[in-house]
């Protein structure tokens, strides 16, 4: 049953002292999928991801990542997994090219380091010392080190924090290209539009549990949630919530004799509305 799953967790638990960071979390990520984990700070996202990466021990529950328990991770398993942590140490006195080449040497079938540097958009910086890079460029180097081993599964923990919009778009293209090549990606992010742009499915963590999982379009019954229809009527903006927006629009069309309904819009809740609702902020 778990063969087509890259990540499987059931009843995952982890406490720090008396505080339960992860409290019975269930998660299943299919091979080849881009899965985004959303959740407020302190919800248990990073703890969960670090257990899956083999960095932290769990207190209880079942976990399988690429068919192996990450608590018993060996070199062969690590060669199949790429990790981009939140803010990690750089090798300050080395150049971008040197670091990427050095890391490529850890893996049994690495990608061409020069091509990887190019792919993350650092081709012009290959001879720069890493301490001379900007925050966004450092993050790209982190990504380069995460993918140089050609992983089957890639963890991206808040990868685009500090990116400008242009850099973020370029990064999205990179993630899409990796996904198109068959890489499974588990992404955590604070940017809901990023999850919407990249993820096949989205999971929301709060209080150490996964409270909802679905495609970005359908999360939290978003697709069937009441729509809001607004239009302008005699100098005044009118707004109506309805489960049957098509019927309302048809009725409005009749009311305006088949002409244009002034300033007509039909909107569904945004992913952000649904998310805030799920984590109990609304």
């Amino acid at each position: 049953m778990t063969e087509d799953l890259a990540i499987f967790a059931r009843g995952l638990r982890k406490s720090y002292g008396a505080t339960a960071a992860v409290a019975g979390l269930d998660l299943a990520v299919r091979r080849g999928e881009v899965f985004a984990l959303l959740g407020p700070n302190g919800a248990g996202k990073t703890t969960t991801v670090e257990i899956l990466e083999g960095y932290r021990r769990r207190d209880g529950g079942e976990v399988s990542v690429l068919g192996t328990d990450p608590a018993r991770a060996d070199a062969a398993w690590r060669a199949r997994v790429g990790i981009v942590l939140q803010g990690t140490g750089e090798f300050e006195d080395l150049t971008v090219g040197e670091v990427v080449r050095h890391f490529a040497g850890f893996y049994p079938r690495p990608d061409d380091p020069a091509a990887v540097v190019e792919r993350v958009g650092l081709a012009g910086k290959v001879r720069s010392r890493t301490h001379a890079l900007s925050g966004g460029q450092r993050r790209r180097l982190d990504v380069a080190l995460g993918i140089v081993g050609r992983p089957e599964l890639l963890f991206l923990d808040e990868p685009t924090t500090g990116f400008d919009p242009q850099a973020r778009r370029e990064f999205w293209e990179l993630v899409r290209a990796l996904a198109a090549g068959g890489t499974t990606i588990l992404l955590t992010t604070h940017y809901l539009y990023e999850a919407e742009a990249l993820a096949d499915r989205v999971g929301v963590i709060t209080g150490g549990r996964l409270v909802a999982v679905d495609t970005p379009e359908r999360l939290g019954d978003r697709a069937s949630a009441p729509a809001t229809v607004t239009w302008r009527d005699g100098g005044e903006t009118r707004s109506e919530q309805t489960a049957t927006p098509t019927a309302l629009v048809a009725e409005l069309a009749t009311r305006y004799d088949g002409g244009e309904v002034p300033e007509l819009t039909v909107t569904r809740p945004t992913l952000e509305d649904i998310y805030l609702n799920l984590i109990g902020e609304r």
Binding site: Y55, R57, A75, R78, L85, L94, P108
Partner: protein, 264 residues
Amino acid sequence: MTSLPVLGARQGGIEIKQFLRSREAVVFTMLFPVLLMAIFGAVFTQEITPGVTFRQYFVTGMIASGLLVVGFQNLAIQIPIERDRGVLKRLRGTPMPKAAYFLGKVIVVLVIGVAETVLLLAVANLFYGVDLPATGEKWLTFGWVSALGITACTLGGIAFSSLARSGRGAPAMVTPVALVLQFISGVFFVYTQLPSWMQQVAAFFPLKWMCQGMRSVFLPDGFAAQEPAGSWELGRVALVLAAWCVGGLVLCLLTFRWTTRRDG
């Protein structure tokens, strides 16, 4: 998968590259013992016994201390900093084996240690009347005392690196330990003139035995009578240093942490 010796050698290569590029580290690591040698060498000029000056005694101890600084002090400070900055955590996420990381550290320490020793030996020989080992046998003793000594210090340094909670706290913990060892092990003072309890404490640690081994190489044979046991005790030197190598290795493997404590 690439073999461990190759991975270790590459790790060593990249460590040496990083060391050479951080100019402060090069200057301070290499020149601090030379500076100490120059200061003490200028101050203490009296003879300890006929034909042996305190200078010669001290300079011999500084060669042993150089190994302590390069192996122990350097690593015990540097590794917590790397741990704090997340360098170790990142390496842990790759298939690189733990042993390759240790091997890389050992290689960089050996290279710096050899360079440091050559430098100190040259200064000692040119300015402080310390003769190079006269016989093949003395060179051999010099070789194994240095090799065992630096290995013990390196492993001790890696093991000690797990004690510091943070990179910021590491120098404050490590520097006094290294300094106190130098005071009680017969570097800054003649060992046999120290209070006996101090001698007994020092005898638990490698530096005292490294200094004694070095004296057997560089001081006249007659000076052996001035040692605590009335001889150089080279067999015991080898034994204690080897025990520290084994114990240090075990401690490294048991206590080494890739992440900071708050990081799980």
